[in-house]
Symmetry: C2
Subunit: 635 residues, 2 copies
C-alpha cells in the first residue's frame, strides 16, 4: 500500500537522463534486404544510384529522329525537304538512332508523296531525354535512416539498386504480470482481468516497425519475474514489463531491474502514466509500464517512442495537432503534466474540444477520444472557451466528416452509426456520447454537437421535448425532429425473484435501486413517477447510486449488486432481464438549425426513415414508430 517513494520526474528530465545511456544504433546491425521486401524499413546508410535514368538517349516524343543541321533554315516558304535516308521514325522511349541529335513531333511533319517536309528548323537536342535526366549513377538517392516509402522503392529499382542495407527491426518483449491477470479466453471470476494490454501495446509497437514477442503471464512472485525479465533481456532489444494495478506490484519490477541492472527513474510527473519505471539490464532498456491501458499508452508515446527513434531510427509518426475551443473549464495539477482525452466536434467551421472522463482504466476511451490535450506541469488548467492545441488520435479528415451527437443515451444511436457506415454513398461518420437530455441541450447551445437525442417530459402538458426546447432556445436556433416512442420500465433479475410489480414496490425494505445521473431524461421520468406515487427520493435505497447509460444500469442488476432500475426494453433484453413497463415516452432528435441542411444531417435523417433502421429497432425491441423524421418544431 502506498507508493510515497515514487518520484515525480518530468518527462524531459527523465529522457535526458535515460536516452544517453544507450547511445545510438550500432551500425553493425544493418542487414541487406531485397527492395521488394523492404517496404517500411529504414536505410542503414546513404544509397547511391547505380545507373543513369534514362541510361540512353531516348526519344521523348512520337515522330522522327534526324540531324538538326539538316533542317537549319527551314521556313514556311522554304521547307526542309528530307529524304527517307535522313530520318528514322521513332516512338516515345525509343533509343535515339546513331547520328541523330533531334526529334521532331509527328504533328509537325508534312508528307507530300515520298517527301517529308518540315516548316520549322529543329534545335539540336530537342525532344530528347538526356542520359541521367531523372538522375545519374552516383547521385545520392536516399540519405541514411530514410523510411522506404513506395516512391523510394520504385526509385531504387529504377536506379539499379535491388538490395538495400536496412536497419534491423528491434525485438520488443512484453511481459504481462499479475496474479489477477488471466488469458483473454479464460472464464473471468470476480477480481480477474483479461490480459488485453499486450494486444493494445503490441499492435502499436508493430505498427511502429518493431518485432513483438509476448511471454506467458507472470504471477506476482519475485523469482518468477526475475527469471522472465532476465530471459527476455538476454534475447530482446527492449523489454516492457506490463504491471498490474494492485499495490506492491511496482516494487517487484524495480527490485528485479535493480537486481539484474539499474533503475534510472521510478515515477514520472505525468498523469496518467506516473508509475513508469525506466531501467536497463546490460545494454538492453527495460521499462515498467503502468497497468492501466491509458497510462501505459502515454508512457509508450512519451518514453518508448523517443527511445526507439533514437536507437532504431523507427519512423514513428508524430501526432498532428489542431487548434480547438475548449468546451469547459479544466483544472490540472501542478504536480503532473496531464494528458486529457477529448472528443472533437467540427460545428460551423469551429472545432470544439470536449474533455472526456479521465479514468486511466477506461480502455474504451481509445474508441471515443479524438485527441489528447496535454496540459504542461506548470499550467493550472484552462478556462472554458480557451483555444487549445489538441494532438490527434484520429485523422482530422474523419473528425471533420463526423456527425457529433451528444445527449440522452439510446442504443438506437449506435445502430444509426452502423447503418451510416454501411451506406454506400455515406460521407458521414456518427459519434455519440452520453450526457443525458439536458447535457444534449447544453452541448447544442455551446456548439459542441450537431444534434442531441432528448426525451424530456413536460409535466404540465404531458408531451415531450417541445416545452424544454422552447424554454432553452431562441426561435430559429434548432429544429426538433420526431424520433421514436419507447417503453421505459423497471428492469429486474430474470424471473423477477423479488416479485416487484411497479415503482411503488421500490420503497419496500431491502430493495436496492440503481438510478441514472442528474440531467438524464430517465431520471426526470423517475422523479415524476415518484411524485405521482407520493414517494420521496430518500425512501428509495440506492437513489443516489448513478449510472450513465441504460445498459450500465442493466449490468448492475445482472451482476446482482442492485435489484431494480428504470430503463428501456432494449437494455433489459441485452442482459436477459425481466422488464416491467412503466411508461411510453418520445425520444426525439434536436438539431442545430445552422447544420440542418448539411449532407451529414440529411443522410442521418434518411437513415432514420429507412426500412433497415426499422428492422434494427424491431430487433432491439420496445420501440414504436409513428411519424419518424417529421419536423416537430423549428423553434
Amino acid at each position: 500500500m502506498g507508493q510515497a517513494y515514487l518520484k515525480n520526474t518530468p518527462v524531459r528530465e527523465a529522457l535526458n537522463a535515460y536516452l544517453p545511456v544507450f547511445g545510438t544504433h550500432p551500425a553493425t546491425t544493418a542487414e541487406q534486404v531485397p527492395v521488394t521486401r523492404a517496404a517500411g524499413r529504414i536505410t542503414a546508410e546513404a544509397i547511391y544510384a547505380r545507373q543513369n535514368v534514362p541510361h540512353y538517349l531516348a526519344c521523348a516524343m512520337d515522330g522522327i529522329a534526324l540531324r538538326a543541321a539538316d533542317t537549319f533554315g527551314a521556313s514556311d516558304l522554304e521547307p526542309a525537304i528530307l529524304s527517307t535516308s535522313q530520318f528514322t521514325v521513332v516512338d516515345t522511349g525509343d533509343p535515339l538512332p546513331d547520328g541523330c541529335d533531334a526529334v521532331v513531333m509527328v504533328e509537325e511533319i508534312i508528307r507530300r508523296g515520298d517527301l517529308t517536309l518540315l516548316m520549322v528548323p529543329a534545335t539540336p537536342w530537342q525532344h530528347i531525354r538526356q542520359i541521367g535526366e531523372d538522375f545519374s549513377a552516383g547521385d545520392m538517392l536516399l540519405p541514411s535512416y530514410s523510411p522506404l516509402t513506395p516512391g523510394a522503392l520504385g526509385t531504387l529499382v529504377a536506379g539499379g539498386v535491388l538490395t538495400v542495407p536496412v536497419l534491423r527491426r528491434p525485438t520488443v518483449t512484453l511481459i504481462p504480470t499479475g496474479d489477477e491477470i488471466v488469458a483473454p479466453d479464460s472464464d473471468l471470476r470476480p477480481g480477474q482481468i483479461a490480459e488485453f494490454n499486450s494486444t493494445l501495446f503490441g499492435s502499436l509497437l508493430q505498427s511502429w516497425g518493431a518485432v513483438v514477442e509476448t511471454t506467458a503471464i507472470i504471477p506476482d512472485q519475485l523469482d518468477a519475474l526475475l527469471q522472465a525479465v532476465q530471459s527476455a533481456a538476454s534475447c530482446s532489444d527492449l523489454v516492457l514489463v506490463l504491471a498490474g494495478s494492485s499495490a506492491g506490484r511496482d516494487d517487484y519490477t524495480t527490485q528485479v531491474i535493480s537486481t539484474l541492472g539499474d533503475v534510472f527513474c521510478h515515477g514520472l510527473a505525468i498523469r496518467p502514466g506516473k508509475p513508469a519505471i525506466l531501467g536497463r539490464i546490460g545494454s538492453v532498456p527495460v521499462i515498467g509500464l503502468p497497468g492501466y491501458p491509458v497510462s501505459g499508452l502515454v508512457v509508450l508515446e512519451e518514453i518508448v517512442a523517443p527511445l526507439l527513434r533514437q536507437l532504431y531510427k523507427l519512423d514513428i509518426p508524430f501526432r498532428p495537432a489542431v487548434t480547438a475551443q475548449l468546451s469547459r473549464r479544466l483544472i490540472s495539477s501542478l504536480k503532473y503534466q496531464e494528458y486529457i482525452r477529448v472528443r472533437l466536434s467540427l460545428v460551423n467551421s469551429r472545432y470544439a474540444a470536449i474533455p472526456l472522463e479521465r479514468g486511466a482504466g477506461l480502455v474504451s476511451s481509445f474508441l471515443k477520444a479524438d485527441g489528447w490535450l496535454v496540459v504542461p506541469q506548470d499550467c493550472e488548467g484552462h478556462e472554458a472557451g480557451d483555444m487549445v492545441e489538441i494532438q490527434l488520435l484520429r485523422p482530422l479528415g474523419a473528425i471533420a466528416r463526423t456527425l457529433s451527437v451528444i445527449g440522452s443515451h439510446d442504443p438506437l444511436l449506435d445502430e444509426c452509426m452502423d447503418l451510416l457506415a454501411r451506406e454506400p454513398d455515406s460521407t458521414v461518420e456518427l459519434r455519440s456520447s452520453h450526457a443525458g437530455s439536458f447535457g444534449g441541450l447544453l452541448a447544442l447551445r455551446r456548439g459542441e454537437a450537431h444534434l442531441a437525442g432528448i426525451h424530456l417530459l413536460d409535466e404540465v402538458s404531458g408531451d415531450y421535448n417541445l416545452a424544454a426546447v422552447a424554454k432553452n432556445f431562441q426561435r430559429g436556433e434548432v429544429v426538433l425532429v420526431e424520433g421514436v416512442y419507447r417503453q421505459q420500465g423497471l428492469m429486474v433479475a430474470a424471473g423477477n425473484p423479488l416479485q416487484l410489480s411497479g415503482l411503488a414496490d421500490l420503497a419496500r425494505p431491502g430493495i436496492r435501486y440503481v438510478n441514472r445521473q442528474k440531467g438524464a431524461g430517465t431520471r426526470l421520468l423517475f422523479d415524476y413517477q415518484l411524485r405521482q406515487l407520493g414517494l420521496e427520493p430518500n425512501q428509495i435505497a440506492g437513489y443516489t447510486r448513478e449510472e450513465l447509460t441504460h445498459t450500465a444500469v442493466a449490468a448492475q442488476i445482472k451482476g446482482g449488486s442492485a435489484d431494480a432500475g428504470l430503463g428501456i426494453l432494449a437494455a433489459a433484453r441485452i442482459f436477459s432481464l425481466d422488464f416491467i413497463p412503466v411508461a411510453e415516452e418520445r425520444y426525439d432528435f434536436l438539431i442545430l438549425a445552422s447544420v440542418y441542411e448539411t449532407p451529414a444531417v440529411q443522410q442521418f435523417l434518411a437513415i432514420l426513415r429507412s426500412s433497415s433502421f426499422r428492422e434494427r429497432l424491431e430487433r432491439l425491441g420496445g420501440y414504436r414508430i409513428d411519424q419518424i423524421g417529421r419536423v416537430l418544431s423549428h423553434a
Copy 2:
C-alpha cells in the same frame, strides 16, 4: 502513332460512370480472424461487447471496504469506530467483498491500537468501479467497416471479443507489359527500361491493405496480353495492366479488355495520367495504368483508391493539405486537371510552394516532391504569390524541420544531408534542389530557401560571390559563409581519346561539348574562360546543349553523346572519366540572415566544420578546405 481517339473524361465524371458498375462489397466475403492477427483489417459488421468491463464491482482505491451505513454520522468529534469484522483491507482492482458498499482510502483511516477510526462518513458506492463503468455487454464497440487500430484491438479483447469478422483483403494483380520492359536485374541495353512500376505501385497498394501479385512481363503481343489479363481476371479482385510508354500499347489493352469485357472510359482529363483505361471483365475491374510512374500514381490515387474504398472499405488515408504561397507563375491547360509536384519550404513561418519539373517519367520526383498542387480543369493557373492548397506527399512535421537549400549543384550537399541524418542530436533534414547559383540568389530573395550554394566569379576582382551578394542584397539580409575550394575542369572520356588539353581544344572541328544551364556558376566560369581565350560561343559545338548538374554532364560524356564538359572532379570520378583541371573556384554558402541563428542552420554549419565532412570531401576528391564556416560577409 497518335492517340487522337482518346477522350478527355473528367475524373468525377469517370468515377460516377465507373464506380456504380461494381456496387458495394458483398457481405459474403467476410472472414473470421483472431484479434491478435487483425491489426489494420476492417470490420465486416458491427461488433458488440461480449462482457462488461469491469465485469465485477471493483475497489477503485487501496484501503478498506465496508458498509457505508456503519460510518454514518462520523465526525472529528465522534469518529466511527470499526471493529476488524466490519471491514476488509482491499487493494485497487480487488473485487468488492460481499456485504460491502463503499471503499475508504487508506489515507483517511486512523488506527488506534486495534481500533480503526473514520472521521468522515462514507457515501454508498464511493471509490467503487461499477460493473460496466467502461462499457457493458451488448454495447456496440465498433460499427461496420471500422479499421482495427491498436486501441480498437485492445478494447475488443477487454470486451471478450477474441475473433472478429473482417472484410477479406482484395487481391490485386499487376501485369507489367511492353517489349522494352525488362526485369530489373537485367543488363540494360539502349531502349530497355527496368520494370520498377510494379515495385512502386505494388508497395503502395500493399500499404493500402491489398494483397498484390505481379505477373511476368508480357510482351507487346495481343494473344499474350489477352491470356495474361484473362487469367488474372479469373483469380483477382482487381487487375491493373501497367502499360509501357511506346505508342500503340494502349490499343492492345483496350482491345483486350473490350474482347473479354467492357471498356468504360479511355482517357482522363488529367495530366499526368491521361491514357488511363477503365474497364471490367465479368465483375472484376480491369484498369490500364499509364506507363510513366507519376501518371500511374495519379490514376492510382484518383481512380483505384476510390474503387478500393468503395468495394473493400480499405482505410486509404486522404492526403492532408497545407496552404502555401506559390513561388512562380503557373500556367495550366483548360483541357486537363493538372497535378503539379512542388517542394515546400518553411521559411520564417511561411510555406513557399516551388513547382518542380512536370515530366511524368521522373521517378525521382517521388523523393523530391513534398506535395501536389492540383489545378482544376477550369482553372488557367495561378500567379506568383497566390496562396494555394498543397496536398502533402511528405509529413508536414518533416517538411517543417527541413533546411531548404536551393542553388548551385554540388554532391557535397548530399553528403551534408546524410551527415545531418546520421547526427544523433540532429533535428533537421536537408533537402537541396539545383537551380544554379543565380537561381539560389533568387530563391533566397523570394524566401523560398534558407540557404544557397553559390560560386559566382567576379571578373573584376577575380574573387568569388562577394560582389554578387553585395549587388543583389540589402545590408543585413544575408550572411555569406565560406565553403570549399574546388577544381573545375574538362571531363573527357577515360584515356582522353581525343587528346584534349584544355578549353582551347573545344573549338577543334568535331568536338562535341555539353554545357550547363544559364545561371549556373559553371556556365559563367566557362563563358569567362572562353573570353579569356578569345573564343565565341558559336565556335563551340554543343554550347546550347544544357544539363542541370555536374553528374548529368558527366553522364552524357560517359554515354558517348558528348566529348567534353566543364565540371568538378567529383562528378568525373563517379563516371571514371578523365579530368583536365581548368580553374579552382570557391563554392560558398549564402544564408538568409533571418534564419542564421536557428538550430537548423547552426547544425548545418557544425556539420561543415566536422571531421566527418572533411573525410567525405576527401572521398569525393577535388576539394580543398581553407577556413570553412567563416563568415565572409554579413551583407
